[in-house]
């Protein structure tokens, strides 16, 4: 079922760390994350989920399918993935597999879980050093995600070094330095406006002299449509590959859960440019359902690796397809 961080990191030796006391992560325990996901929904107006639960399931007629379609569209799953699910469900109904409410939900959740079953859910830190590059559009939560991954890696006994390769946005370096302090990791940095490739080069050199296990590279947020900036990203990748032939071992794309259909284009274009290995779906603590993750996994075959559900250290979680599907459809 729910995976632990210990399971998510590939290449760990040693036992999983003791669970943290709630106080240490900076927040009171607020129940399961599923519960927290739903808390947001309860506050939004009447949800589609309530409407879906109100459907008469003894008659699986057009109204049911239309309602299902709207539920999925409303969750930002996109037209193509929605049609895929609805058609599969209709087919199952025609074959007599779905007859009542319970079967309807079980089947629906399973279809969604199946759509997430692509790629490798783990984050590879088995190399010495392993390089994780984090990319994404402006404001999707790259720096925050890096701070949290670093924190969890540290807890698993890895030494982590952060590379401040976002040299563009004002005060981005300071933000990463702050996270470095919180996670207790050194941050390799240069001046604002310097060449991100050079920062990465320095970071790799520093990791060698310090013997760091993992280097996490923060990059500037950029829109996937900006060709020169995407070229810059490819260059950063080349700089890494030249120093560490198999690197980067992970390239994570942060996608804001509130993003609509553009998220799919983002994932495709970042994927083409820098071979994204997995998605971090951030900001799921709002009322957005993050259905774009379904479309990204289904249409591009990219695994969702982590979920961000809040600002605290412990609010970045390994992705759990079953739980996510549950939150997406159940009232």
């Amino acid at each position: 079922m729910t995976k632990s961080w210990h399971q998510v990191f590939k290449g760990l030796s040693g036992a999983p760390p003791e669970p943290v006391a709630a106080a240490e992560t900076g927040g009171e325990k607020k129940g399961g994350w599923l519960k927290r996901l739903r808390k947001g929904l309860a506050k939004s107006r009447q949800t589609m989920q309530q409407q879906l639960s109100a459907i008469m399931f003894d008659r699986l007629d057009a109204e049911v399918w239309e309602q299902l379609e709207e539920t999925l569209i409303y969750a930002d799953c996109g037209v193509a993935s929605t049609v895929h699910v609805v058609e599969a469900m209709e087919q199952a109904a025609n074959q007599g597999i779905i007859r009542d409410r319970d079967q309807f939900y079980t089947h629906l959740k399973q279809s969604l879980v199946d759509m997430f079953a692509v790629g490798d859910y783990q984050i590879d830190v088995s190399h010495q050093p392993s390089v994780i590059m984090v990319v994404g559009v402006n404001g999707t939560g790259k720096t925050t995600t890096i701070g949290k991954i670093a924190y969890h890696l540290k807890r698993e006994g890895k030494s982590v070094l952060l590379a401040a390769a976002d040299t563009f946005r004002a005060a981005a370096i300071e933000q990463l330095v702050e996270w470095g302090k919180r996670a207790d990791c050194p941050v390799i940095r240069q001046e604002h406006g310097s060449d991100p490739g050079a920062v990465v080069f320095d970071a790799i050199a520093a990791s060698r002299s310090r013997g760091s296990d993992v280097i996490i590279v923060d990059t500037a947020g950029r829109l996937h449509t900006q060709v020169p900036l995407m070229e810059e990203l490819k260059k950063i990748r080349r700089v890494i590959a030249k120093q560490i032939p198999e690197g980067p071992h992970e390239t994570l794309l942060t996608v804001d859960a509130t993003t609509g259909q553009n998220g799919l284009i983002q994932a495709r274009l970042f994927g083409e440019a820098v071979a994204v290995s997995g998605i971090v779906l951030t900001k799921l603590d709002g009322t957005a359902k993050g259905g774009i993750a379904v479309a990204i996994s289904h249409e591009l075959g990219l695994p969702i690796k982590l979920l961000g559900i809040g600002e605290q250290m412990d609010d970045l979680r390994p992705f759990d397809a079953a739980g996510f599907a549950e939150a997406l459809v159940a009232g």
């Binding site: 808390k39 947001g40 506050k43 939004s44 107006r45 709207e70 569209i73 409303y74 969750a75 930002d76 996109g78 037209v79 559009v137 402006n138 404001g139 999707t140 939560g141 563009f168 946005r169 004002a170 005060a171 981005a172 300071e174 933000q175 330095v177 702050e178 996270w179 604002h192 829109l223 996937h224 449509t225 900006q226 060709v227 804001d256 509130t258 993003t259 609509g260 259909q261 553009n262 998220g263 284009i265 983002q266 900001k283 603590d285 709002g286 009322t287 957005a288 359902k289 259905g291 774009i292």
Partner: protein
């Protein structure tokens, strides 16, 4: 890829020419396409429903049923309805008769508030105002530093309380400071917050009652999906904002969120943030947004970009050269570069409506353009002016110098010759209409 709505409507309705009238069934099919297009553009599905109903009513009217080009007619109706929906409110800021005019910027995390604050300040300065920025985001690490750096860039003072723990107090003292300093606008940057975070929304409501802002702007990411209406409704309830700043419009998001928010809250989109640079900030143009949502291309933006990169003088020089058929490789390189400065060719083509689908789908290989540039750069000045002198050994040298092969050099030379020929024909008096096909072929499209 997703076809544009206009293509689809042409397919559905265009073939009916000559058959007389449209049936209700045809209209229903067209409405389905419109619905899908709007959903793909992230317009909220409730809004889509209402909108499609309104369009259908008009489409069933005579103007479409009897039209010879029903597809275009429907597009026109959709476009008009979109503009009507998004554009019937003022986009101007409210200025107080007793300065400073207070502007409060609110929004979710990562929507671009801090950047938008600085961009707005720059725009106000350009209009002769004297804004002061107030950094009241005490939560995100380094947010205050970010505003301070941006403030320096746009030459606006930034107020904050170092180590301050009370955002409301910073806002209040900031406004007082702006007043004392005789600034006429005070722009307050607040922390990004979730619309369901009660404590933080309370803080915002408190800030509102303490500083009495004349304008509250909700900063919204153009890429936002269906959730945009929830966000907007919650912010409306808590702080009753006056308008929206739509950010990250330089991407390829269709921006249906703009339509949703306007439809649900009635609050207009006032500003659009369209790029990385501080000056990429403008009033919102509903007609352009409507075209964008429909995937109809954005000719105005393209024209503006062209005006920025190609000066009029240069254009006139070029025209003269073309007419005298003195077009050299230097000119060609010049044109190629200024064209590429406008952005990737594929992006430009997508902005032009009416470009045939095949052309849009053609893979425009930017690398091929690099190669063309490299080949020209490997020519001597003499060779660029008089390509005729390029013989076998020169070809080999150029190929070596540009890292290509003689075949590619030959190809370019041949195409260039064809182009010159074409120019000579055109110089006969006919006006040049659009790009000559030979030129397009050079770009492999």
């Amino acid at each position: 890829m997703f076809d544009t709505l206009s293509d689809k409507l042409q397919d559905v309705l265009g073939g009916l020419k000559g058959q007389g009238r449209l049936s209700e069934e045809d209209i229903a099919r067209a409405m389905r396409e419109i619905r899908l297009a709007l959903l793909e553009a992230d317009v909220n599905f409730r809004v889509v429903k209402q909108f499609v109903a309104a369009v259908k009513e008009r489409a069933l009217g005579e103007e479409v049923m009897e039209s010879l080009t029903p597809g275009q007619q429907v597009i026109k109706i959709v476009h008009e309805e979109l503009v009507k929906l998004m554009g019937l409110a003022s986009t101007k800021l409210t200025f107080s008769s007793r300065p400073p005019t207070v502007v409060l910027m609110v929004g979710l995390q990562g929507s671009g508030k801090t950047t938008a604050c600085a961009k707005l300040a720059r725009q106000l300065i350009a209009q002769g105002k004297q804004p002061e920025l107030i950094a009241a985001d005490i939560y995100r690490p380094a947010a205050i530093e970010q505003l301070q750096v941006l403030g320096k860039q746009v030459k606006a003072p930034v107020f904050t309380i170092a180590g301050g723990k009370d955002a409301v107090e910073i806002a209040r003292k900031g406004v007082a400071d702006a007043e004392a300093a005789g600034r006429d606008v005070a722009i307050i940057d607040t922390a990004g917050r979730l619309h369901i975070d009660e404590a933080l929304m309370q803080e915002l409501a408190q800030m509102r009652s303490q500083v009495n802002p004349h304008n509250i702007l909700l900063v919204l990411d153009a890429m936002t999906g269906q959730d945009a209406v929830n966000v907007a409704e919650q912010f409306q309830q808590q702080v009753n904002f006056d308008g929206v700043v739509l950010t990250k419009l330089d991407g390829d998001a269709r921006g249906g969120a703009a339509l949703s928010v306007k439809a649900v809250t009635g609050k207009p989109i006032k500003f659009a943030s369209t790029g990385e640079k501080i000056k990429d900030f403008d009033y919102f143009h509903p007609d352009r947004m409507a075209s964008r949502i429909l995937g109809m291309g954005d000719v105005m933006t393209l024209i503006e970009r062209a005006q920025e990169t190609i000066t009029e003088k240069k254009a006139r020089e070029m025209e003269a050269k073309l007419l005298k058929a003195q077009f050299t490789f230097d000119d060609f390189l010049d044109q190629l570069r200024s064209m590429r400065k406008m952005g990737p060719l594929a992006g430009m083509l997508s902005m032009i409506p009416g470009i045939p689908k095949q052309l849009k789908q053609a893979q425009i290989d930017e690398k091929e353009l690099d190669r063309v540039e490299a080949i020209i750069c490997s020519m001597t000045v003499e060779e660029r002016r008089h390509p005729d002198i390029i013989n076998g050994s020169r070809r080999r040298r150029i190929a070596m110098g540009s890292g290509s092969d003689t075949h590619s050099v030959n190809q370019l030379l041949n195409r260039f010759k064809q182009m010159q020929k074409l120019m000579k024909q055109l110089a006969g008096g006919k006006k040049l209409k659009g790009l000559p096909p030979e030129l397009l072929r050079t770009f492999n499209v």
